[in-house]
Amino acid sequence: MKRVLLSVLLSLSPMTAFAMFNDDPWLSKVMAEFEYIDAEHNALEWDVDAWYGRDISKFWIKTEGEYAESEIESGFIEFVYSRAYSANWDWQTGIRSDIASESDQNRNWVSFGFMGTAPYFFDVDARLFIGEDSSSQLIIEAEKEIMLTQEWVLTPEFDVVANGKTSQRFQEGSGLSSAEFSLMLGYEHNGNRKFQPFLGVTRTWLFGASQDMVDHDTSWRGTLGIHGWF
């Protein structure tokens, strides 16, 4: 026990002097994307992920949603513990809370998933949510940055949502419920990888029972946004 305590203390203490500096400091990163969806919808979408942690273990906060007509149409926030388990993948587990303005549309969930880089440099975030009333939801997001030049970046993004059961209250059908594809053309001025304004197009497809229950525009929509990290 003493040894465990000692090693814990040692791992917390500043690094050994000969190492010159700590090679595994606590760091934080915030990645934010804000998108304005064309005039007709007049909606603002946000997708903000942030982490605080070290090489192997990190705490994440992820939030995304849509804001229109002075209220949050839909949205959630997740608190996630993440642990690296292979060169390219992290296991993640946490809790999610829905934050739509219409409070009867909100549920709390626990999440299990993985995040990382698949072959061909697809950044993938896949997670399974287990919610109240034995509901469940699977969300898989994948995107890839294609460098057209050192400044112009094309980013295709593909999201799918599937639900465990049909629910009238939450307007969702079981099985594959929706898919969204976006294509964004961003510009990194002077090769600055930290900030990227972009223009995009996006389209949603609805499937199964969700098709009948949700009133959602499934045509192509134009978007204008910024993406940045610090």
Binding site: A17, D55, N88, Q150, W229
Partner: protein
């Protein structure tokens, strides 16, 4: 307590932030400039303090020795005892390490190993006898003080000189960033390719398709994409944030070395950069390399050489006096250059060559000996035009050989034939011709020839911190390295290094230590054998023993490995004339061996000399 000494004699080191004044290919005029002060004798006083600097147009605070960057050149005499009193005027601990000097462990200047470091306001007096001659350097071994300006040259004059020259100059290369080193490190952890301004683009792919056919180009992309790696990943930190300095001067305001007609000039190159490898040449002037890491070698005349962080090379030149010559030192990734002029008259303009095309890693750099895809899918290494750089002329059109072909052993190299295509097993069975020596085959495994063992990966601790293993790492002593292969110039390689003196310890190594350089670029984690410095047990050596250290580089980066206190005797196939180094480039995907005689008691640092790899790719060597 903290008197911040240099601030009282405020001195601005200015670099003239006139970016763009020096257009590529244009001639440039330099303002009058002098090198760092030279201090000689047996007693020295060094004061470490903060120094306001401006290399790029922005005011920054550096850490400096005696208020100068580079620090004063220390001129010692072989056989003499020197005493150096170092006083710390910083608000944090400091230290000075005498890089490449063989001395007692308690004088080596590594806090936590040699001594406790020098506290703010305190002094430490180093005293040791100098038993070697040549070009070395000194730098801080604390925090990020070295990248912030704490480096200077050491010249040890020999008792008996090998070469007589009319002029003798120190050329110290370095890289300066206006970003704080802590921020650079954090950026690398968060977004490892942030400084890469030569990312593979769709444009490159189109060009490759045009040149090599769509299917070949596509297959090549598939391979790299499947591996989730980038073949344009040459330097972690680049000219995007660095201004490259030569004797503390940026290109826009370069330093000048004067000479007169007919004079032989000795240039002592020291790479004091924190992260940059430089490829050095003087267009139109042949360089005769006479010393590597301070140690005399058999003279070899070349057009170009690569110098890793912490290496030193002495070259002798005899330039024509009709014009000023550019000493052109391009960063390995071609994201910039340092330059000075070698001129018969002050302020003559120099003709700057264009930067070479950005290098592309080949399969050999991944330690592969066969291809998962189309074997001759070659990259278009030439004819690229990134970020305003103009590419050099198409060499591959002349002989139909791309850099990658060369790496694959498909072309005749400008130097000696390579042993590429030889697996470790083959080598172990003595089936391969090893570089630089006909009798290499016979000697394989014995002192001077490198290891005869098959590479073993069993002892590597695998995990999220490792993204690749080199499946078939080769000895590549005669490989000038990525970006220099088959460039039409005679480039120095390690196979060229032959000690001018006889090997002092002719014993066979009694054992071999195989060390794997490992890492995960996408998490920016580095290690040796999958274990990082702080978590590793010391490497124990028995006093007096002769052993072999064999490196296997399982990463895509070049790593300059530096062993303190003991010579690294590089096995280049000349057992009686083994060259001695203190810092050795282990090329990506390669294998390299050197012999060590553990003749100095104590604890020694052993690490990659790239600043942001150092604490992880680190071992303590304990000789007892």
């Amino acid at each position: 307590m903290n008197s911040h000494y240099p601030l009282t004699r405020r001195q601005f080191v200015t670099g003239v932030g006139a970016a763009g004044v020096l257009a590529f290919g244009n001639s440039a005029t330099a303002t009058e400039s002098f090198g760092p002060k030279e201090l000689s004798g047996r007693y020295f006083e060094l004061n470490i303090g903060y120094l306001p600097v401006n290399f790029t147009g922005k005011d920054r605070t550096a850490t400096a020795i005696n208020g100068s960057i580079p620090a004063p050149t220390l001129r010692w005499k072989e056989g003499e005892e020197v005493t150096i009193k170092v006083t710390n005027h910083l608000a944090e601990d400091t230290s000075i390490h005498w890089h490449g000097i063989i001395l007692p462990s308690n004088m080596d200047g590594v806090p936590g190993l040699s001594f406790g470091g020098i506290k703010p306001g305190e002094s430490f007096t180093y005293r040791f006898t100098v038993n070697q001659s040549g070009t070395y350097w000194y730098h801080s071994h604390s925090g990020f003080q070295e990248p912030l300006g704490m480096y200077g040259a050491i010249i040890v004059d020999p008792i008996e000189a090998h070469e007589t020259v009319e002029r003798d100059y120190v050329l110290t290369l370095s890289d300066w960033s206006d970003e704080k080193p802590e921020s650079i490190f954090a950026n690398l952890k968060k977004y490892p390719h942030i400084y890469n301004i030569d990312e593979r683009t769709l444009n490159d792919f189109m060009r490759d398709s045009k040149r090599h056919g769509f299917s070949k180009a596509f297959a090549e992309r598939i391979m790299w994409n499947q591996m989730r790696m980038s073949d344009s990943d040459i330097s972690d930190v680049t000219g995007k944030t660095y201004t490259f300095l030569l004797n503390g001067k940026p290109p826009a305001n370069h330093w000048q070395a004067l000479f007169k007609k007919g004079e032989r000039v000795r240039l002592r190159f020291i790479n004091a950069a924190s992260m940059t490898f430089f490829d050095v040449r003087i267009p139109g002037v042949k360089m005769t390399v006479v010393a590597a890491d301070g140690q005399a070698i058999e003279p070899v005349t070349v057009d170009e050489f690569r110098i890793a962080a912490a290496e030193t090379y002495d070259v002798i030149v005899q330039p024509s006096a009709e014009q000023a010559h550019a000493v052109f030192c391009q960063a390995i990734d071609r994201s910039g250059y340092a330059v000075c002029s070698l001129t018969p008259q002050r302020n003559l303009p120099i003709e700057l060559p264009e930067l070479d095309a950005s290098p592309i890693l080949g399969h050999i750099d991944m330690g592969m000996n066969h291809l998962p895809v189309n074997a001759d899918a070659g990259h278009d290494q030439h004819g690229m035009n990134h970020g305003g750089q103009t590419s050099q002329k198409d060499n591959d059109d002349e002989d139909g050989c791309t850099e990658e072909h060369a790496a694959m052993g498909h072309c005749v190299m400008p130097q000696k034939p390579s042993n590429n295509g030889c697996t470790a097993e083959h080598a172990a069975m003595g089936h391969c011709v090893m570089p630089n020596s006909e009798h290499r085959q016979m000697g394989s495994g014995s002192a001077g020839y490198g290891s005869s063992k098959a590479v073993s990966f069993d002892h590597i601790k695998m995990g999220p911190h490792i993204d690749m293993l080199a499946e078939s790492p080769q000895y590549r002593l005669d490989d000038p390295g990525v970006g220099l292969r088959n460039n039409g110039r005679r480039v120095l390689t390690y196979a060229d290094l032959i000690n001018r003196n006889e090997t002092l310890d002719p014993r066979e190594p009694s054992r071999e230590l195989e060390l794997h350089l490992t890492g995960n670029m996408s998490r920016y984690m580095w290690s040796i054998d999958g274990i990082k410095g702080m978590k590793a047990d010391p490497i124990k050596m028995k006093f007096g023993e002769r052993l072999r250290i064999t490196f296997v580089n399982n990463t895509m980066m070049n790593h300059p490995m530096h062993l303190h206190g003991l010579w690294s005797e590089l096995e280049t196939g000349e057992p009686n004339r083994i060259p001695r180094k203190h810092t050795t480039i282990v090329q990506p995907g390669s294998r390299l061996s050197y012999l060590v005689t553990a003749d100095a008691l104590g604890k020694w640092a052993f690490h990659c000399h790239l600043t942001y790899h150092m604490p992880s790719m680190f071992r303590v060597v304990e000789v007892s």
